[in-house]
Symmetry: C2
Subunit: 338 residues, 2 copies
């Protein structure tokens, strides 16, 4: 059953209890990754819930670690962690803290993943809260938007740091050598925008990043920048708006097709959903700015997305994501303070 193409290079803790299809699809995705033999999966979940799910005989690349309690989307992450210190996400992050795992992956609550990561690993210097960033449109698959919702009410220095994190993400995961970084605003000219953007603009000018100025909403799907920096409130609204827009277009076209016959290729409908929603089709995204590797996937992830999230964590480790972020943050912070 086992594939021994390689020795496991990395040990990834997987939160088996988080996500809409937990634990079934999570376990399946984790086992899939473990079967390949190049990663060791530490599956963290409740004894009762995992019963009968893990293959027997055991895989050498799969270890099960029991937890108690699950933190849901509805709970306040910090309080929930306090009341459930043995919850699956806390145990998974804790394994990284004590050096038993190299990174962790969850399809559960982003807030809980972040809170657990901050407690266990802390953030990189200058980062108040980790960000979620990456491409979210199939139409602009190389345009990273950061932050997508972990930090609202960002201070200008925070947005600057997110620019750095986004730029490194773009290099490491998308292979863009010198990413064009832009601030999202309501006009291209300097001086356009809300107070937050207007105060952030001069910091970017001094940063040494490849800063191309402000871009407008229109420029995001048209790919005018490689990294679009915005407050998590704006990024989250935008990402979910795109998802809703894709759904609404598909609903509209479906109704039209059924009225007017099959002249419209129904394949297009499937494509359209992907064009406006990448996230469901990726493994997830790393929490950027955490002092360690953590990947958070979409709550609706099925097994293949879980496997992809584990791969993403391994890639972050292999390419030295965290070290590169630490280095570039320090450089930029020095330039801006001069």
């Amino acid at each position: 059953m086992t594939d021994t193409r390689g020795q496991p290079r990395y040990r990834i803790a997987v939160d088996a209890m988080g996500g809409d299809y937990a634990p079934g699809e999570i376990v399946q995705g984790a086992v899939e990754a473990a079967l390949r033999g190049d990663v060791k999966v530490l599956l963290v979940g409740e004894q009762e819930a995992l019963k009968g799910m893990v293959p027997v005989p055991a895989l050498p690349t799969l270890e099960v670690i029991f937890s108690q309690g699950v933190i849901t989307e509805a709970e306040h992450p910090v309080e929930a962690l306090r009341h459930k210190p043995r919850a699956s996400i806390a145990v998974a992050a804790g394994l990284v803290k004590v050096g038993k795992a190299d990174g962790y992956v969850t399809m559960g609550s982003t807030g809980a993943a972040m809170a657990a990561g901050m407690v266990a690993l802390g953030t990189l210097k200058g980062v108040d809260r980790p960000a979620l960033g990456g491409p979210f449109l199939g139409l602009a698959p190389k345009t990273t938007v950061i932050d997508l919702g972990t930090s609202v009410d960002c201070r200008p220095s925070q947005l600057l740091n997110y620019g750095v994190l986004g730029s490194v993400f773009s290099k490491v995961f998308l292979g863009i050598e010198n990413p064009r970084v832009a601030l999202l605003s309501v006009g291209a000219e300097e001086g356009k925008g809300n107070r937050q953007v207007r105060e952030t603009y001069p910091l970017f000018q001094k940063s040494g990043l490849n800063f191309i100025g402000n871009v407008e909403g229109m420029d995001v799907p048209l790919g005018k920048a490689d990294v679009v920096v915005c407050d998590g409130f704006v990024g989250n609204v935008l990402m979910k708006f795109a998802e809703g827009l894709g759904l609404a277009v598909v609903q509209y076209l479906k109704a039209r097709v059924s009225r007017e016959g099959p002249e419209v290729a129904s394949e297009l409908l499937r494509e359209l959903t992907n064009l406006t929603n990448l996230v469901e089709h990726r493994g997830g995204g790393p929490l950027l700015g955490l002092n360690g590797v953590a990947v958070v996937g979409h709550g609706r992830s099925r097994a293949p997305s879980v496997t992809a999230a584990i791969d993403m964590a391994c890639m972050a480790l292999e390419r030295g994501l965290v070290d590169m972020m630490r280095r570039e943050l320090t450089q930029v912070q020095q330039r801006v303070q001069v």
Copy 2:
């Protein structure tokens, strides 16, 4: 040539110099409205620019008024108004102030239209700056989003007032009896959102509006609320993002069609643009919260959109938009203060 179906009920000042296709398309749209005979158009523009454009013999429903100077998008509106007090937009707004016109229409700079309106007419009690609001998605043609970009960094009381203005807009222009009003946020639950939204929430709860709580970005195209209230920064980014997304989808599908032959109905491509961008196909929108009627259209408006904008100004007058807004603002402000 003249159509005498009715006596002109309203006198509308039209800024002939504002817009990408000014003065040609503006004059054409204005003449079109004047020809119908039920509105008197006061066409405001530079003598030189209008030469030979206005029909001879003159229409009884068309009067030309000369101005000097034009305020462009690139200028700071307030300063530009100071230096060009006889600019077309200033003259148009001034005609309303002195009672020679009942409302004004422009396809020029929104900032200039607003500044001129605030100087000439002032705002309704409680409104710091007028807002632009209305549906902007063909997919959700009855969902009003307010503010679309005139006011960034709104205080909570300002967002509340925009909720009132949006609700009245929805009743008057879209015929929705008891509009469902929502705050745009990053989660449906009370307490989700940035500081601005969290502080605004309790004001809406006390307002007596048909407040349904927070909606997320996804809910806008799906039409879950009739009036979606947000800061102008967010609304503007969202509206332009939708426009860009529509363009990008059409580009994508065009490339696909040319690769794979004509199986995809090319009519769909045209439709898709409309689904994501209503504004170009409407006459424009009234400046909401101004103590008088002013309609600002899209810069790219052609003649038919200019005519439609004039119609919209007449409709605002006929249905008593400004009085209804004044009344409801007072009611809500009293409820919230108790």
